[in-house]
Assembly symmetry: C2
Homo-oligomer: 211 residues x 2
């Protein structure tokens, strides 16, 4: 529990979701054990790399001749990634994307409760998929009362910085930003840019590059 984390590199952490996806797929097919080389082949990594990644995360060493126990490893990675601590999140901006995310149920698997959305337009107030959409005025109140730490920002580009300021004002410390704008935030607040167009453009690039 020391502050010097047990030396798991960022690169390793970034690969964990890929392991998790693959392992869940195998578990679904009823596979009980999987070797590092099988994982590596499926994911395009090296087998040694896989073992090195899994070593500090797995609660039980892999068994020579068998490999890793799939179910147990899934459990370990989820625990490692913190999917077992629950976090409350809100959505700011109830347009098409915001509403789609509000209705999406997949977050629960990752220990995230998306509890509500907010929009400055009164016309948008209401509910989607059983979850409420409130007017912006209520943001701070609800954030504080539910100790929400994370916001998903899905307003149009032009409204992004203003909405961001309100979010920060409400006391939120992490923003997943879908607006393609650079956001100015005070120190201590982290922003992750989830720019669909950039992702897609990058993919196009990769696709074209190797021919």
């Amino acid at each position: 529990m020391g502050s010097a984390e047990n030396a798991v590199s960022k690169a390793t952490i970034s690969r964990m979701p890929a392991y998790l996806r693959y392992l869940k797929g195998e578990a679904g097919k009823g596979v009980a054990y999987v070797s590092s080389s099988a994982i590596a082949a499926a994911l395009g990594f090296s087998a040694v790399g896989v073992r090195k990644d899994l070593a500090p995360v797995s609660s039980q060493p892999g068994k020579p001749r068998f490999g890793f126990e799939v179910r147990r490893l899934i459990e370990d990675i989820e625990k490692f990634l913190g999917y077992h601590r629950w976090t409350n999140a809100v959505i700011v901006g109830a347009g098409g994307l915001g509403r789609a995310i509000l209705a999406y149920e997949g977050f629960e698997n990752y220990g995230i409760h998306v509890i509500a959305a907010f929009d400055s337009s009164p016309a948008k107030v209401g509910a989607v998929g059983g979850k409420p959409i409130y007017p912006m005025e209520r943001l701070k109140d609800i954030v504080v009362r539910n100790s929400v730490r994370v916001a998903i920002l899905t307003v149009p580009r032009s409204a992004a910085q203003e909405a961001c300021d309100e979010i920060v004002q409400a006391g939120i410390c992490a923003i997943l930003n879908f607006a393609p704008v650079y956001l100015h935030v005070p120190e201590g607040v982290c922003v992750k840019y989830e720019d669909l167009a950039v992702s897609l453009a990058a993919l196009c690039g990769e696709c074209t590059e190797d021919r």
Copy 2:
């Protein structure tokens, strides 16, 4: 034009969108020149790193005492990232997320035309934001006719692999996958996992970690 790219590292490329976002923000404020140290401070990078990143991309070296010309640099980075070559894309799965993305106009800035969506349910056929939603049967035909190379997969988890197979069958070579499932694809097809829950969970982690 040689196949050995002019040595721009992957790490450098991954930072380009951040530069672009920041520069566009400054351009919007009317700033004409910006120094590497200003960029670095705003983005949390090192000034030397910024200069090294920009050197191979910028068509004109930075001017001592001034820095880089904002407008020109934006132009250069966009060109470098290929936002000027147009690519056609389609969406597979016209649920909430698929429709939201279909209606989203931001892709045009990145040289991407999202031309249509497809869904296996006849009830979903129609249009959103002036763009058509076709039945899945028409996928291959339209992909071939418009030489679509990229697909955005927004079907539910359970339908993902099957839809993916159809996409690959239609001749697409890159998939942006929003379903939280590991996809099996033939060699040469690249898949990017855009797992909202993972992004959000990672953000929560970062947010919690440093206290």
